[in-house]
């Protein structure tokens, strides 16, 4: 064995084409099936289902996805993602058009969208800068404290955030002659954005940055010993998560037309964590699965509780019990149950297993 510096010259890099970014052959069959079903959902579901179930699930799934990037890829459990989404929502209301005309600037929506994403990134980066030198429970506490501070600040500030009332009548753009607030267009809008976010998160795992982030999660000391700036990678992950939560925050305010301090209160902050854990914090699909289950429970458990003679207002109890049951049986959430019990049903028996 000899050590020699390579004399091989790097091959000419092929020009980057659409296939470099999107190669359909690399997409597994089950993803195609799910994609086709999702595209056809408006043909067999009510407008309520499209808007209140799937639309909300996609939005909450995207906010949870931003947490999944930080926690699953980076090992940082941040509770500031809902706050970042709320900051983006406020930016849309303040810089775009709302019924609170004395505060809203009524700037064109593309400018408001850019400012909103920047606002979300800023919240995430500031929180990240304070949290990246901590781990575990300390990261959770710092980010929760920032979220709570944002909640109280928006509730008490009337000059910019309009205090307790917040903003209503926030306008959703009309583009290409389509009112995107209508249930079916809104369904396709949220589906497209959620689909792109999912693709980006899957893609991220195989990029140099994504690999390095996973390395930082597993072994920060070794990463530093290989030339990586651990803190810079963690901070960049917060910025990327901020983009996703910002886009979700924009869709959130477009869907309801309103934003108030309660959007970013402690309850929704914890909900995002619950959604991510229920779905599976290590997989990009997990947050969407968790969000769909959460929205279904939130929507229908009230009727269910009333039907069995209990107070329908206790729907959070059903969500909490579901969380406990799933986490008890599968720490990796529904994705973990899928991997452990369902996926293996149609997998061929491995020879070594068969032979004991």
């Amino acid at each position: 064995m000899t050590y020699a510096i390579s004399t091989k010259r790097p091959a000419q890099e092929p020009p980057r084409t659409l296939a470099h970014w999107f190669d359909p052959t690399r997409i597994p069959a089950h993803i195609w099936v799910i994609a086709i079903i999702l595209l056809l959902v408006p043909t067999f579901t009510s407008e309520f289902t499209q808007y209140q179930i799937f639309g909300w699930a996609f939005i909450l799934g995207m906010i949870s996805l931003s947490l999944m990037i930080l926690a699953g890829y980076g090992g940082m459990v941040s509770l500031v993602q809902m706050t970042a989404a709320a900051a983006a929502g406020y930016a849309i209301a303040i810089f775009g058009t709302s019924a609170v005309t004395e505060i809203s600037f009524a700037w064109p929506w593309p400018i408001a969208v850019i400012i909103a994403i920047l606002a979300s990134v800023l919240v995430c980066v500031i929180s990240g800068a304070l949290a990246i030198r901590t781990e575990g429970i300390y990261t959770i506490m710092i980010t929760l404290a920032i979220g709570s501070a944002f909640f109280y600040f928006t509730r008490q500030n009337y000059t910019v955030f309009n205090g307790f009332t917040g903003f209503n009548g926030v306008q959703t753009p009309v583009l290409f002659g389509v009112n995107w607030k209508e249930p079916t267009p809104f369904y396709y809008l949220t589906l497209s954005v959620a689909g792109l976010s999912y693709w980006f998160t899957v893609h991220l795992a195989r990029t140099p940055f994504g690999l390095a982030l996973q390395g930082v999660r597993d072994n920060p000391r070794r990463m530093a010993a290989m030339g990586f700036s651990v803190n810079a990678h963690r901070l960049a992950a917060y910025a990327i998560a901020g983009v996703l939560s910002g886009i979700a925050g924009i869709l959130l305010v477009w869907s309801t037309g309103q934003i108030s301090p309660n959007t970013g209160s402690v309850g929704p902050i914890i909900d995002i964590l619950v959604i991510t854990v229920i779905g599976g914090i290590n997989r990009p699909i997990g947050p969407f699965v968790g969000a769909l289950l959460y929205v279904l429970l939130r929507t229908y458990s009230l009727d269910f509780l009333n039907a069995i003679g209990l107070d329908g207002e206790r729907f959070k109890l059903v969500i909490g019990l579901t969380f406990l049951v799933i986490v008890y049986f599968s720490p990796n959430g529904i994705c973990g149950i899928w991997d452990k019990h369902i996926k293996r049903l149609w997998q061929p028996i491995k020879l070594e297993e068969h032979n004991g």
Partner: protein
């Protein structure tokens, strides 16, 4: 496109210069006024009993521990207060006594990360491409470390010896100028030790290294200068043959204690 870190050692007298380096943990003095000079391309063995301060010395050189006093110069540049990754990008490398690898990643991914860490594009959001120069460099290193058969295996599936080989491969990534090997032969079989000696002796002459090793046969066969440490201080330096025949060293290693 990624580029290797440029070398800057032309005309520099010393690769590493430690001056009055000390490190204390409370009342415990782990390093006491260490002064050491290593020339470019020199192969130095650091020997000493457990607790002599050898690994602490490495940790102070790489920036894992800030020294209590003293300075560290790397190719003439004062790096005493540099962060670990800044030192690595200047050509300093190290391996660890206990393998610090990414068990959930493949061998190729581990080596790719090591190559990427000392290249540009660490924040790239483009998918890893096999024609990327960094990927080609990772492939080369796999061959150098003789890990072709396990290139796609998860690190957790490797034998202990293979993990040690991978540790060395990570340290060879990019354009190393000085490598710190922390007990690379620990736990290896005689055959693996012989392979290790092969790898170390075939490292290009312009790359220097400092090796901590308890196995005297390995340490003396791969070094051209030896530093003996005891209780956080340097107490002897010399050529391997001088150290091997030194009565004080023999007494220390045979267990009768250093007077």
């Amino acid at each position: 496109m990624a580029e290797p870190t440029p070398t800057r050692d032309v005309g520099t007298e010393f690769a590493l210069e430690l001056a009055g380096l000390s490190k204390s943990f409370g009342a415990l003095v782990a390093l006491n006024n260490i002064s050491l000079k290593v020339r470019p391309g020199e192969r130095r063995a650091v020997l000493g009993s457990n607790g002599a301060g050898k690994t602490t010395l490495f940790n102070c050189i790489t920036g894992d521990f800030p020294p209590s006093s003293g300075s560290v110069k790397f190719f003439g540049e004062d790096i005493t207060f540099f962060k670990p990754h800044e030192r690595i990008r200047r050509g300093l490398r190290r391996t660890y006594q206990i393998s610090l690898l990414f068990n959930g990643l493949t061998v190729l991914d581990n080596i790719y990360l090591a190559c990427r860490g000392v290249s540009n594009g660490r924040f790239s959001l483009l998918r890893v491409n096999s024609s990327d120069p960094v990927s080609i460099a990772a492939d080369d290193l796999i061959e150098i470390a003789n890990l072709q058969d396990v290139r796609s295996s998860l690190v957790s599936d490797l034998s202990y010896g293979q993990q040690r080989q991978l540790e060395i491969a990570l340290a060879l990534a990019g354009a190393p100028r000085l490598i710190l090997f922390d007990e690379p032969a620990a736990g290896l079989s005689p055959k693996e030790r012989s392979d290790l000696i092969q790898i170390l002796t075939h490292i290009p002459q312009h790359i220097g290294y400092i090796i901590i090793e308890h196995d005297m046969d390995v340490a003396l066969s791969v070094s051209n200068r030896v530093t003996m440490m005891h209780n956080g201080s340097i107490f002897k330096e010399g050529r391997p043959s001088q150290i091997e025949n030194d009565p004080e060293v023999q007494a220390l290693y045979l267990g009768s204690g250093h007077e």
